[in-house]
């Protein structure tokens, strides 16, 4: 393996000791990152192996019923649940996050932006269980009167979107404002209004980074457990409506891991692998990053 990428002119330049250490450090972190990543995959794979080898796995895997104590391990309902809730929450969160970031970056006065961003940081630090409790203790009692039991996709995706929003806005805002001052100044001197400058120049130029922010957000959404668990209802079934309970893959891991043994425990690790697979598919669908 080639350590360091550049046998290029810059490398041949005179390097001081700081540079050498820095290069070494970069290479070291890459090795560590590779090692760490590999470790996690090996760990997941090893734990899931018992399940993958068991005959029960292939028989019931693509069914809906999940009753580990009766050796039925259907994951499809949970896969659908995970995908739906993440999709719906991103549909809510993304336009709002993008718009809020634009406002913060280009329309509000610097002083206001400072305070608004600061408050967003505070919101981002709130443990997701608090957001879940808001849904459980305040939203659901109201909705349960009209749409019992009300636990389900609508509330779950709303709660999840709010878990995502603060950090998503901070992220998108950071991507939008980097090094845009020269652009704004040029635009101003050419007499282009700020809105059209944003629409025609800045957003298209930053599209790739916005998409990356979206992928990171989606990753966060797939990984989020507790907030969704509290308001999803967690019954394992295909959700037939917005107010029908459903279960996500991670909710199953969180709910059952503490009491699972043997095959059941291994199956839960397999669910973790499924989640990674889902994200793989998502990344593939989002297009190659270099494109």
């Amino acid at each position: 393996m080639k350590l360091g990428e550049s046998r290029q002119p810059e490398r041949k330049m005179r390097q001081n000791w700081r540079d050498r250490i820095f290069e070494f450090w970069i290479d070291l972190t890459r090795l560590l990152a590779c090692g760490g990543i590999l470790c996690i995959f090996v760990f997941l794979g090893k734990e899931a192996l018992v399940f993958l080898k068991a005959p029960e796995a292939s028989q019931s895997l693509f069914q809906l019923a999940w009753f580990p104590s009766e050796n039925r391990f259907g994951i499809m309902a949970m896969v659908v649940g995970s995908v739906l809730v993440v999709g719906l929450s991103l549909l809510q969160a993304w336009p709002i996050a993008r718009a809020s970031a634009i406002y913060l970056g280009f329309f509000s006065s610097p002083r206001t932006s400072v305070w608004l961003l600061g408050s967003l940081q505070l919101m981002a630090a709130i443990p997701s269980v608090v957001v879940g409790l808001f849904g459980l203790s305040f939203l659901l009692p109201i909705l349960a009167v009209y749409f019992p039991p009300a636990f389900g996709l609508l509330v779950a995706s709303f709660v999840l979107s709010f878990v995502l929003l603060p950090s998503l806005i901070i992220n998108v805002h950071a991507m939008l404002v980097i090094d845009t001052d020269p652009l704004l100044e040029v635009g101003k001197s050419l007499g282009i209004s700020t809105p059209s400058l944003i629409r025609k120049v800045i957003l298209p130029q930053r599209r790739r980074f916005l998409r990356r922010a979206l992928i990171l957000g989606a990753g966060r959404a797939f990984g989020e457990t507790l907030a969704v668990l509290l308001v999803a209802g967690n019954n394992i079934q295909l959700p037939k409506g917005l107010f029908e309970p459903f279960r996500t893959l991670n909710a199953t891991i969180a709910l059952e891991m503490s009491y699972a043994q043997g095959l059941h425990r291994s199956a839960l690790f397999f669910l973790g692998l499924c989640l990674l697979l889902l994200v793989c598919v998502l990344r593939f669908l989002a297009g190659r990053e270099n494109a």
Binding site: P68, E70, L136, S137, S258, H264
Partner: protein, 269 residues
């Protein structure tokens, strides 16, 4: 960078100095059931007061973790909230407290008692509306525990049901999540630990417990033996116990320990 390095460096230095000073301590690790963990933490605090050279680290993670850690030698004592099963192998379980499960309704529901047979019909999904039992015109929302949980196993065993027999619409994990779920749904029925149920009905919570076959689920009813839906909460120990671990088990089951159990809203032996 410099600053954070400096802070972290001094913290680590400080930290390692601290650890060398505390070397003479006997350290015990306990892990397992999340139901027991808060209680055992408090008992441990009391035990440490009497035995200054022992330090107890209480960790949570669930009954099966308590058992598997115990078998792998990762803890000195495990905590489990269910009876031992034959497949658990050669471990010793010492009950230190008990817990029953109580059926809970939303406060808006006018019903206040069920027979065992009614409970089975409700959880099988044969009763769709509370009207059928003389309650309000409200859809029944069955709240069940997640697969594998100790309370679920006790419930299924007591009513001779299979996991797939229960037609639940909501599934919950921890006790307080269950109570909050029932509180947020007028038609809900679920079951939680009696200790949690009693605490919740003392407060201004939106839930109430219901009698089962005429027996009201309270600590006193369990102590008298009139309420039978009960499970033991035990410490488990594999292999040879450290003397300190043995001492802790004895302390927990002593009258002094049991008084602590009762004062923390758990049911003593």
């Amino acid at each position: 960078m410099k600053i954070s390095l400096y802070i972290a460096g001094s913290l680590i230095l400080w930290g390692s100095l601290g650890s060398s000073a505390a070397a003479s301590l006997q350290k015990l690790t306990l892990s397992g059931s999340s139901t027991l963990a808060p209680l055992v933490s408090e008992i441990a605090k009391a035990y440490e007061k009497n035995n200054a050279n022992v330090q107890l680290d209480v960790q949570t993670g669930g009954s099966s973790k308590g058992l598997s850690d115990c078998r792998d030698g990762l803890n000195d004592l495990g905590m489990i909230s269910r009876p031992l099963k034959p497949e658990d192998g050669n471990v010793r379980a010492v009950p230190i407290a008990r817990d029953g499960i109580a059926f809970m309704l939303n406060k808006t529901n006018s019903l206040s008692s069920f027979t065992g047979e009614q409970v089975v019909r409700i959880f099988r999904g044969e009763i769709q509306n509370w009207k059928e039992l003389g309650g309000p015109d409200q859809k029944v929302v069955v709240v069940n525990k997640a697969e594998g949980r100790a309370a679920l196993e006790l419930f299924l065993q007591h009513f001779k049901l299979k996991p797939s027999d229960v037609k639940a619409s909501l599934i919950i994990g921890d006790e307080e999540q269950g109570l909050k779920t029932i509180a947020s749904n007028p038609g809900a029925i679920g079951y939680v630990a009696i200790s949690s149920a009693e605490l919740a009905s003392q407060g201004n919570s939106q839930v109430k417990s219901v009698a089962l076959d005429g027996a009201i689920p309270t600590t006193d009813a369990v102590l008298k033996g009139s309420y039978t839906l009960v499970r033991p909460l035990s410490l488990v120990q594999c292999g040879k116990a450290k003397p300190a671990a043995e001492g802790f088990i004895q302390f927990a089951s002593s009258p002094e320990g049991q008084k602590l159990v009762k004062s923390l809203n758990y049911i003593p032996l």
